[in-house]
Amino acid sequence: MARPAPARPARAFPLWAGAGFAALLVWSWHGTGVDPAALFGPEGLGQIAAYVRKLFPPDLSAHALRDAASGAVETFAISLIGSLLSVGIAAPLSLLATRTLLYRGILFEGRPPGPGARARRVALYAAGKATLRVLRTIPEIVWALIFVFMVGLGPFPGVLALGFHTGGVLGKLFGEVLEDVDPAPLEALQATGATRFQVLVYGVLPQALPQFVSYTLYRWEVNIRAAAMMGFVGAGGLGQRIHVAISLFHEHQLLTLILAIYLIVTLVDALSAYLRARLV
């Protein structure tokens, strides 16, 4: 946060933290076989230069452009429907992942749930949280593998994969937003005799909605990149075409496809920024 900088020059972390961090770096350096010489030595640089030379010029024949365009459209479609699906998954689950809607906070002041009901609600909350955690811990690409196995090849398993993973991410974020709303309007509604459901609809959701939209747009930006990757396991989009181009050593076509990714990602970033400014 922008604090007016009282003299707090990077409060020195304890020494052990610094030492641990250094040890972590050294350990990782060795474990990953980082080898600057291989990269920046004459041989590495030569290999990179040779590879880059092979990429140019991009293949701009009508066929390659058509292929890239249809891949880009498919990727866009996967990201859009996948993001909407994730909202559909996240919105109901986030209600379960919100303590203040289930068993504590001002909604329950004065009329707390009985001990049995409270235990059930706490269990519901724990189950909601756990579901979301499982959904988001499994990476998109693993979801894609699983869904390709279930429903076959094509963009559809990509949509499902994005929806499930992002559903877990958004559900967590939505729940945090719901817990953080300003309590004053809720109290005001309660004072007028509103039921819990009415407080949720007229007090909590209107406050949370702009944040929901903002997070969803942000995840859309993440998803367009992920959608471009799905194809590697057979889930359509630009990734599939890139996979083919790489496997068949069609380097010029590969560059065309990479340019297509760059364009579609930049487009979605700009669109999302515009919508965020407009809607939120």
């Binding site: 291989a38 990476p139 990714i261």
Partner: protein, 288 residues
């Protein structure tokens, strides 16, 4: 936002036409894109119930339980699991090395605009300020718009298989993201301390070191830690293109239909991600 009748300041600001048309245009475009995308993405829930889908689900679930917990298998998987952590740490470190200098250059208040540059000549601002600024912004945009796995593929070509290309891929792609966010953080810092230092006669390095760095550091560190959390997931994914780590094992087991191994590997990944989240959360809590 709710717009009640009393909320609209009707007299002074006649509602601009674009503002009032926007919701309809937005709704129509969204609806059209959704309809179009549903067809384009071949969304078809029936595929879950027809053919072998259900049998496949059953096969997957039956195969996955119980997870494979034999000592041999766990011993074999320890190395890829540690490798995943190492890739994420090293990748994030390289991302900072790339993102920090480019991010500083991509900050307009540091390179060509605002308080620090009042005494610089116009041409000096252009050549020494705006040109590097624009170049680093363009570089960052290219770095972050090409997904990690495409970078990984190219680095596999350049330096061979193994974790190193994974490190480079995360470093380059995340460097682009870190650089952009660093510059955004720096741009939003309060200019007051800078002005004060400037007025007191501090030079540029002094203003940056004592005015900007202390303000920006907590946010910069917090965002870097957040990216580290993302990197652990990414490093698990990069294995799919031959860049080491857990992903490679997950793909192998999946392709061999060893679903009990897949479940164990996912559980390991789950533990790794939870551990990294916890550590990073602890550090961020201390910084805030």
């Amino acid at each position: 936002m709710a717009r009640g009748p009393s909320a609209a300041p009707v007299d002074r600001f006649p509602a601009s036409p674009s503002r009032s048309v926007f919701p309809y245009v937005f709704g129509a475009v969204l609806l059209a894109s959704v309809v179009f995308s549903l067809r384009e993405a071949q969304v078809d829930p029936r595929r879950f119930v027809e053919g072998e889908a259900l049998a496949n689900v059953a096969r997957f679930v039956r195969g996955a339980f119980p997870p494979k917990l034999s000592r041999d298998f766990l011993g074999l998987m320890a190395r890829p699991a540690l490798e995943t952590i190492q890739i994420s740490v090293m990748g994030t470190a390289i991302a900072v090395l790339i993102g920090l200098p480019l991010g500083l250059l991509a900050t307009s208040s540091l390179t060509w605009r605002g308080i620090l540059h009042e005494r610089t000549s116009r041409s000096g601002r252009w050549t020494l300020g705006f040109v590097p600024y624009a170049l680093s912004r363009a570089t960052l945009s290219v770095l972050r718009s090409i997904p990690e796995y495409v970078w990984a593929f190219m680095f596999v070509r350049a330096v061979g298989l193994g974790p190193f290309p994974g490190v480079l891929a995360i470093g380059v792609a995340y460097g682009g993201m870190l650089g952009k966010v660093y510059s955004e953080i720096l741009e939003t810092m309060s200019p007051r301390p800078l002005e004060t230092l400037h007025a007191a006669g501090a030079g540029k390095p002094g203003v940056i070191l004592y005015g900007l760095v202390p303000q920006a550091l907590p946010n910069v560190v917090a965002y870097t830690l957040y990216r580290w959390e993302c990197a652990i997931r990414a490093s698990a994914i990069l294995g799919f293109v031959g860049a080491g780590g857990l992903g490679q094992q997950i793909e192998l087991s999946m392709r061999m239909f060893q679903f009990d191994e897949v479940l164990t590997l996912l559980a390991i990944l789950f533990a790794l991600v939870a551990g990294v989240d916890w550590i990073s959360g602890r550090i961020r809590a201390r910084l805030a």
